[in-house]
Amino acid sequence: MAAKERVYVNFFRPSSANMKAEARIAAIVILFWALLSYLLPLCIFLAGMSDPAGMGESFFTRTRFLGFPLHYWLIAQGCTIGYILLCKLYCLLWDRKVSRLPR
């Protein structure tokens, strides 16, 4: 007897148009999420490597943005605002790409 055809789901190789659209949107948003969450602290870390005291003094800590030290604003408000915008982006993309697909 031939093997029964099974449902195939893989985030990196989506099988249906619907799944493809969903996975692509998720991948885009997760990419930006990773940049915000990990690349930003990494930049702050790399920039501060020249600080002999090892506390991360750099361009980020000396620059002021809205009166804030840039390194503080980026994490305290920049990231959280970024996450909310990413959620909005996800909903917008979903409405455009997924909701219009035939079920």
């Binding site: 893989n10 619907n18 501060g48 506390m55 804030f68 959280t80 909310i84 959620c87």
Partner: protein, 568 residues
């Protein structure tokens, strides 16, 4: 009202009455006057009556209503409920204190707790809503067609609910003690009575509606003093969240309210706000990652997506939930920075009361202090309610109604749910009355447990069709075991598991979670042939639902009913 309904309702009312008899001299909690305070007490009692009243008006009579609010909550409402569920007494009172002590490094908690929602939205929210049942253990148990996975997930849910709720009760007890002048013991009973009463009366519908009201109370109470405080510190008092930057920049140069600091004090203050002054890069990334996957894996947050009308609202409610949470997390650093401005050398004693002492500093009067305490109380109650609901549903629905007594009626399952809500509440009270010294660390580890155990299993359950019960079990046992090992290592003060070690118990997911993913994938592939046709059919049927895939062709029409409970 029928006698059957009266019995579970009388228990919490007796608890409240019992608490009244236990009035004693108040504990010294905050450096504010002790004893019974009439105006704050009136404010708090009124709000508690509103909560119980709302619960009574939202009374439900079926299991769907009890567990998932009849799936009729909208995006703003669910967003507020997500935020309220999320904001515990610890978030309300503790984050500002944490930022006061840890400075820039403490911001890792803020991005960890908010960034997790993006993961939740992208990978889990809409698909879980399509599954459309009641609990996370149910999802895992059905997807992998395995009662062991179901029971393990239910146990993890219960452990998280109990530890997390016990810590909340501790906070609620302290607040009640301060307002009513009760002993700590009495106030824990009092708070437990209130929370159990409205949960038993209403179930999830009442809890969700109350959480919306509680969100308004807690966020307004939290934010109003900021306008006065920022003016006192020299700001314009228009948008405090954007006005504290110059004060912070001044702090980094040693400028504080009380005049010049010594060179050593100024350096210490500067160190607090520099990136790696209070922790290193690895510790920061490990903390952020653990909190993110932990947030996305917390069952009482995931269960929220079952309560909404449809998947569209599930997605949009995450957006609104995150915005509502953001309001609190944009405000917490203002308190921390102003605290440093007025009191740069304070330790944990200043950090602990940074929120509750704010109205006094802002001269907002005793009534406002009552309102703020009610806000903190609302934060604690709403979180406890959500946790107990998730914990009780794991026991009653996943243990009792699915595994132990699959033939039970809807009515019996509902009654068992109510009984277990009360039982869990009693367990939490016992722990809250004798809190272990390490309760704060154990609660922090709830995120590691959720991130290492639940998150990988749920994500692969949704997005990887080859993931099967063997892989899921291997990943979950590894995640749970390693989290427990790290906890034990932490308690035994082994450096490797300590705050400065490679596998800190509170930040273990950076290493453990990816391995849990790998193990799940690896074992699933190795054991692929061992999965029975029937189990594979059931998994396929769920995956079709999760991803809106077409039904199988008629000749392959042997797909069994996935709703039927089964044993392995």
């Amino acid at each position: 009202m029928k006698r059957k309904t009266l019995i579970p309702l009388l228990a919490p009312l007796l608890l409240v009455l019992f608490a009244g008899d236990l009035f004693a001299t108040g504990e010294e909690i905050f450096e504010i006057e002790q004893g019974f305070k009439l105006i704050p007490a009136v404010i708090m009692i009124s709000l508690l009556c509103v909560y119980v009243g709302v619960g009574f008006l939202s009374k439900v009579s079926d299991t769907s209503g009890y567990w998932v609010a009849g799936q009729g909550i909208g995006k703003f409402g669910n967003g507020a409920a997500i935020a309220s569920d999320w904001m515990s007494a610890a978030s309300f009172m503790g984050v500002a204190g944490l930022l006061y002590l840890k400075g820039w490094f403490g911001l890792g908690y803020i991005i960890g707790w908010t960034g997790g929602y993006v993961l939740l939205l992208c990978l889990i929210a809409a698909q879980l809503r399509r599954f459309g049942k009641y609990t996370i253990p149910e999802f895992l148990g059905d997807r992998f067609d395995c009662h062991v996975v179901r029971l393990l997930a239910a146990s993890v849910t219960v452990i998280i609910a109990i530890t997390y709720a016990a810590a909340q009760f501790k906070g609620i007890g302290l607040i009640c003690g301060w307002i009513f002048g009760m002993s700590y013991t009495a106030s824990v009973f009092f708070a437990a009575g209130v929370v159990t009463a409205y949960m038993l009366i209403s179930g999830m519908a009442g809890v969700t509606r109350n959480q919306q009201i509680q969100y308004v109370v807690l966020i307004s109470a939290f934010m109003i003093p900021l306008w006065v405080l920022i003016q006192k510190a020299g700001g314009a008092g228009i948008l405090p969240q954007l006005e504290y930057g110059p004060i912070l920049s001044g702090l980094m140069e040693g400028k504080v309210a009380g005049g010049p600091l010594s060179a050593e004090e100024a350096l210490e203050l500067r160190r607090t706000f520099l990136p790696w002054g209070t922790g290193n890069f690895y510790q920061f990334i490990a903390l952020v990652f653990t909190l993110m996957v932990g947030t996305a894996g917390l069952p009482h947050i995931m269960i929220r997506f079952y309560t909404v009308k449809n998947e569209d609202i599930a997605r949009k409610s995450v957006l609104w939930g995150l915005f509502f949470i953001g309001l609190l997390y944009w405000s917490s650093p203002v308190y921390a920075v102003l605290g440093k401005f007025w009191n740069p050398n304070g330790g944990t004693t200043v950090a602990d009361v940074i929120i509750l002492s704010a109205p006094e500093r802002a001269n907002l009067g005793i009534a406002y202090i009552g309102y703020l305490a009610s806000g903190a109380m609302a934060a604690g109650l709403s979180t406890v309610a959500g946790l107990l609901m998730a914990g009780a549903s794991a026991i009653a629905h996943d243990w009792y109604a699915t595994v132990l007594r699959p033939e039970c009626t809807d009515k019996q399952a509902l009654m068992v749910g109510r009984i277990f809500t009360a039982v869990l509440c009693v367990i939490v009270i016992v722990i809250a009355l004798n809190p272990p010294a390490l309760i704060a660390q154990i609660v922090a580890m709830a995120f590691a447990i959720a991130g290492n155990t639940i998150f990988p299993a749920v994500v692969l359950g949704i997005w990887y069709s080859r993931s099967n019960k063997y892989g899921a079990l291997a990943g979950m046992v590894w995640g749970f075991g390693m989290t427990l090992l790290a906890m034990a290592g932490w308690i035994l003060k082994i450096d490797f598991f300590g705050p400065e070690g490679w596998l800190p118990a509170t930040s273990s997911a950076l290493i453990v979670c990816p391995i849990a993913f790998l193990l799940n994938i690896l074992v699933s592939n190795i054991m692929h042939e061992k999965v029975s046709e029937e189990t594979a059919d059931r998994g396929d049927s769920i995956l079709r639902k999760l991803h809106n895939l077409p039904a199988p062709l008629p000749e392959a029409g042997t797909v069994p009913d996935t709703d039927a409970p089964r044993r392995i």
